[in-house]
Amino acid sequence: MSRPKNQNYKGHGLSKGKEREQRASIRFKTTLVNTLTDVLRNRPGWVEVKDEGEWDFYWCDVSWLRENFDHTYMDDHVRISHFRNHYELTRKNYMVKNLKRFRRQLEREAGKLEAAKCDFFPKTFEMPCEYHLFVEEFRKHPGITWIMKPVARSQGKGIFLFRRLKDVMDWRKDTRNSDDQKEELPVENYVAQRYVENPYLIGGRKFDLRVYVLVMSYLPLRAWLYRDGFARFSNTRFTLSSIDDQYVHLTNVAVQKTSPDYHPKKGCKWMLQRFRQYLASKHGPQAVEALFSDMDNIFIKSLQSVQKVIISDKHCFELYGYDILIDQDLKPWLLEVNASPSLTASSQEDYELKTCLVEDTLHVVDMEARLTGKEKRIGGFDLMWNDGPVSREEGAPDLPGTGNFMTNTHLGMQGRLHQ
């Protein structure tokens, strides 16, 4: 059954402008290993470049970017895997700042209700500059648990939980002392965040979700959501009585790997599909739909909050790893956004997931210039935002508020079409 083509449908920018030349082979460069190199080396027509050769595609790490991006000339067709100032989204303190600003803007423009949609981030204060605001909030809610996180570290390093101001004061003294002794130690920024005390538990264990979002450009905002992802479980049973026990509270695989209970065979991950089915059997499909649509909201709003701040270079794309925590009321909370989500695999299943993820990312980036630009689904990626919401239905106008609008996201649903 054919439908009339909607003239207002926007392609996702890849086939606009002058004719893109087909390249005989694409020279790529990368320093990271495991799934990434496997996929890149096996891609037909892609040749690895070593050392100082010229490249068309670079899956780089952020340190290289920081040092070299500003003085590297790139032809039009060249692509690189990060945005210059991605840290506006991925460093916890900047993200909070941008989100708070965006929220205020929304409130001014669209009212309190719309602004409340940004309340997916637990109350956070930047240290040390917002220390006094933090103390005010702390005093308003005595007895709750807070979590202190370094802004720029990953894999759970440097994080601790506390309930008393005394713990914070002690810690401040410690870090100040050590700063005096070793001047080389860079001053670190921290954020203090309200700890979600009622996380959703499965089998008595806490978990968080890792979801992948691919952003092809910020101006206009074009973002894809990957259908697969996983839930990462902590190995030990959740209890608030032992906030010193890192293994109970932190679900990063990096932390869990050092836990005495860790058995590599277990992997402690559930694919999102399995997680979605489990929730559906417990709470029914509507509750699950609502939860996943709240998560869509997190992705979009967080990206919108940095849209005007991030330098939207056409050469750049970025694959983000979002960490989401679900609480017992089935409300999703944003923990953080990672610019370099781990692409090393912890198990066979994980390897398959990440290989497909990288492959599909390359399909979307489309160095080979094969796409029409009208696709809403490429491999496991669904076009979630194309300078506006994207409808699930084929060929239908992408206008929300027209009755049956369903966003084009299928997180945790049937995976890739081709296996």
Partner: protein, 433 residues
Amino acid sequence: MRKAQGSWEKRILKSLNSMCTELSIPLARKRPVGQQKELLNKWNEMGTDEPDLSLFRPVYAPKDFLEVLINLRNPNYENGDSLSFRTHLGLIQVPLKVKDIPELKECFVELGLNTGQLGIDDSTQVPPELFESEHVRIGQKVLAEQDSAAAQQYIRQGSPTALRAELWALILNISSQPEDILYYEQLKTNVIQHDLLVDSLIYKDVKLTASNDDYYFVFEDYLYQVLLCFSRDTSVLAHFAYNSASPPKSYIRGKLGLEEYAVFYPPNGVIPFHGFSMYVAPLCFLYHEPYKLYQTFREMYVRFFFRLHSISSHPSGIVSLCLLFETLLQTYLPQLFYHLREIGAQPLRISFKWMVRAFSGYLATDQLLLLWDRILGYNSLEILAVLAAAVFAFRAVNLMEVTSLASAEAVLADLSTLKVMPLLQIFLFATVT
């Protein structure tokens, strides 16, 4: 049959007793009070315990059981020496009556091509108005009426995910009366107070199977809670009235042979084998209160699962299932069957473990639950044999090319991507017979 079951039981007991003597662990002992308190505190996280289980071995594994079944012979049956097209070429040599495809089609009529199914007609490509929405509505009505017989009929077409837990409870007649909750608590107290050798076997089994499973590891603690209580549940003894097996007996120390001092060991009469915990694992998806989970498992066991590891002539017994599987394969896929037999890969050697576990741990959980829906709906385990045959039919092309048992095993190693309902439908209703 009874004789075979009797001698099999003797063997199991011997194995258990010898392990007991070897390790100098009593079959049962009362726990000291300190230990009792500890266990009570840890009740919800027994999985964190790491007792030394290296010396324990599972009492038996499915393949040991298969060897016993293969050697079953009916002394009264004269097969005749000449081979004919009627000769059964499989491993099971007991002439039980099994259904053929036309009979199965009649029996499983609701799985036919013209009837809507969950597992097929609820896929994303099919608009829900065609079948799924209406089916869900009927399901809700059945639950509202609390009609157990209607539920059983309804579930033949599969159960919607959100209604499954209640529907199964309705079909299995599980109530949530205070007495039931109390009974479970009583069992829990028994566990705390007494330590059984069987407990270590259960621990070992859970650690070896469910804890290593990519999906069920999360439910480890629930498995201990259910299985430890299960082994102390004497109400399970009632099912031996219709089970050809008999519960093993043990004698209080020093009173061997004196019937007044005989007790059933374990108290529920069921000795767990390797993979036993996988019967419980999928249920953790549905039930979250321990007593509900426990009751469901117990009912499923005394109605269905016990037949999978005792020798009987019942049509849902494991012997019949094996024979049904082999007959289906030999009759409808003769080339494949003959080929596999020639290369020393008797199909039953591969499919036996699937059937003994009712496919738990081999299929993806959502598919497994759809399969178990039909077990409940048809009150029979025959569907396990049909599915096993359907899997072979599905992978027949690859299987025809293998040249050894190991490669045949490899082709059939991973069933996690299979969709059971289309396979069953095609095998029963869309294959030329």
